[in-house]
Symmetry: C2
Subunit: 453 residues, 2 copies
């Protein structure tokens, strides 16, 4: 297979479709442009996906969670299951990739591989899987466990889960089905393969009862910033969702993950870094900064405090004095979002912060680094991209007219400069991301054997 | 709540969408009207669903299986996962119900309930779940088990699974979300409910993170003819998929299941019997009979023999002498499709059949009882319907032009007689089937408490 022609590197674009809220934005459902039931309204998602596709985005991205209480923020409370949602979007779009978050902690690999392969065929090769290890410990109770898996088990399961799914996706070689009407031969039985996997966490015989799509296999995305998360991303991630507050942080993260991937024998160019961002765009830089500030200060502190508890297992911080020193939490968070919880504890300790100061610091960190006029935002994105802090952006989509400012005012500038595409290169997600189609392992093994003879 | 106005009983219609083959029809993929990859082609399914919707069918129905070998019949080998498929159809149709087969043996109730609830919202209240206990024992190996669950466990799991799903579907009362933009109240926390289920097979805390649809809950279908299967259908089935060779058999089955349902305190009118049928329609009765005969005799006996092995765990019958007495099989099939396997053994024993005679008898039994001119077929369907042998038909859809003979030539006769509808009554599956919307259990409990005071 000839290597693809090298084209100049272009910025990739993801759209995180949030119905009623987003990270640090719990009240977007009150916005006049957003229906209150957007998170369960397929028309809302289809319109946003089509808006992103018209702007030549690479992918839409659906986040997920499965544990709620009456106090959960709006976008956790009532949401469509990601793959069910994406399958409906598949037939309402033609080019954009469809990436769903599915936990490796509480899914069976056979069922998950099958559903993703189905989405991949239905969409003509546009499926992606954002592999996560469940952080919300309460999810365990919805799946028959009294206690959530510990951290090592979660990441062990995640890696093995991906390997099993990839094995199942190769159950059929690409020429397995002659479907010869004359002779009546539907399948070439030598080209169907069992997996016979027996591992630490899963045993799966196979074969999977579905063939490969135009992109070979769904694209693997990964999100998770711990040591274990970075290693998982380096091992199997083709796209990495992350967060970066500064260009230096972004460069350091990208270098680290790509170096880990190279150490595992992978091509670092096939590991694409996508920080999540919420640009704030206005006619002038000053107006944009004012809007960002007003939105931040206008937030309900009680809601911010509730969300602040998530890494600690949705711990209720309203029980503490806001202006006393940050509370002693022991190992709280160890079985939830451990890395994040430890980062926050260290931040409070090192700075001698009160609870209020800690929350304010964390909120400031989450401020968008892309705030300004369309030209300022375009310049800044280009700077990050050229510095190697990112390969793509994962833009949070809430208010349609604000997203339109990005697609209609920022992107044309970047397009003119050749930073983003002017037309889709492909109808598959791999094709648009510049990722290779993985060869079927059984075909490759047979070819290698032929050469050896 | 006032009872719905009683309308005269009408025949309900289901379309079983088979891409490349169907029961006893392994070679339909060779038909010029059927693309060889129809079973993985979403456009094929969408076109058939739209054909059924144009004919005012109540529902499309997707069968399933998850265990294959290189010798499995074509329609087992390569197929889309049912819910992923139905979600794509949901946005390409407007009125027709979407019923998917999902096993209660190898799914987690939380995940399954969530996916079905998502489909129900995406489709505006048109989802249905055909609850099955997996019969193909080999499926166990794809889900980490060395041995398949025994019969009692499978049916115990199925009943508990449905109850858990129904409990999760009531997690939110219908007025749980005030979404008051002025006050900022998104959820009324008193109207979100945990399940806290701890049962023999499943433990699920809840609540489910998705609200109810326009039809309240997905419709429960059930297929399975054993004692355990009939009891499950009587306990929870609102539609029963079955097989009937004669009107007498159909009446006996319908009476039995409805009596069991009544004994459990249910309204037997809310248990609808849907035999699966493949009508053969031609200009004259004679021509239709000739076509049916030719199709039956033209079948590849080896393929018929392979399919014959399914109830026995895909046992390979080609190893036996066809003309020797039916082989001694011990309890083969006990952990697969036990009831069917035992029926076949008894049939051979009681008639002193050879293997060939047994296969021929079984094949004859599977002959369609609806063969003839459009008027003959319409008359016969009406006779069965009026005798109480069925409430609906589940028509196998393979060749589009043959399905069109049913929709365009048989249905108009039945429509003129008032046996089938002239327009959809509703946009929900429950509405069209005449099934009540189940009240949310928590709302009902609160109302009962208020009355008691």
């Amino acid at each position: 297979m000839a290597p693809p022609t090298r084209r100049s590197r272009q910025l990739k674009l993801g759209a995180v479709l949030m119905g009623v809220g987003g990270p640090g934005q719990h009240d977007t459902w009150r916005h006049p442009e957003i229906p209150g039931d957007a998170s369960i309204d397929i028309r809302w998602y289809a319109a946003r996906a089509q808006q992103a596709e018209a702007a030549l985005f690479d992918l839409v991205f659906i986040v997920d969670s499965q544990f709620i209480t009456p106090h959960s923020p709006p976008h956790y409370l009532n949401r469509l299951e990601p793959l069910t949602l994406l399958s409906a979007l598949a037939v309402q779009t033609t080019h954009i990739g469809l990436v769903g978050t599915l936990t490796a902690s509480y899914n069976s690999p056979f069922n998950l591989a099958r559903r993703l392969a189905s989405l991949d065929l239905i969409s003509g090769g546009r499926a992606g899987w954002n592999v996560v290890a469940t952080g919300d410990g309460g999810t365990a109770g919805n799946y028959g466990l009294d206690e959530h898996y510990d951290y090592a088990t979660r990441y062990g399961r995640a890696l093995e889960h991906v390997r099993v799914a990839q094995g199942l996706w190769d159950s059929y070689e690409d020429d397995a089905f002659p479907r010869d009407r004359g002779t009546g031969v539907f399948l070439d039985p030598a080209k169907q393969h069992r997996l016979d996997h027996r591992g630490e966490h899963f045993s799966v015989v196979g074969p999977l009862n579905i063939s490969r799509s135009a992109q070979g296999q769904p694209v693997i995305f990964q999100a998770g910033d711990s040591e274990e998360g970075r290693d998982l991303g380096a091992a199997v991630g083709e796209g990495i969702f992350t967060h970066a507050a500064t260009v230096e942080q972004g460069v350091a993260f990208a270098r680290d993950v790509k170096a880990r991937a190279a150490a595992k024998g992978r091509d670092p160019d096939h590991v694409l870094i996508f920080p999540g961002v919420s640009p704030v765009i206005a006619d002038t830089d000053e107006e944009a900064r004012d809007r960002e500030e007003a939105a931040r200060l206008g937030k309900d502190f009680a809601k911010t405090l509730a969300q602040f508890g998530r890494p600690f297992g949705w711990h209720d911080f309203s029980r503490y004095d806001l202006d006393a020193p940050f509370p002693e939490l022991g190992d709280l968070g160890a079985t939830s979002f451990r890395t994040r919880a430890e980062q926050i504890k260290a931040l409070a300790r090192e700075n001698g912060y009160t609870l209020r100061q800690t929350v304010e610091h964390v909120t400031r960190e989450q401020r968008s680094p892309f705030v300004g006029s369309p030209r300022t935002v375009a310049d800044e994105i280009q700077r990050w991209f050229q510095a190697g802090a990112l390969d793509g952006l994962n833009i949070t989509v809430t208010v349609p007219s604000e997203f339109a400012r990005f697609t209609d005012e920022v992107l044309p500038i970047l397009r003119e400069r050749g930073v983003v595409r002017s037309a889709y290169e492909s109808t598959t997600l791999r094709g648009n991301l510049g990722l290779p189609v993985p060869r079927n392992r059984h075909t490759a093994a047979r070819d290698a054997e032929l050469v050896a003879r």
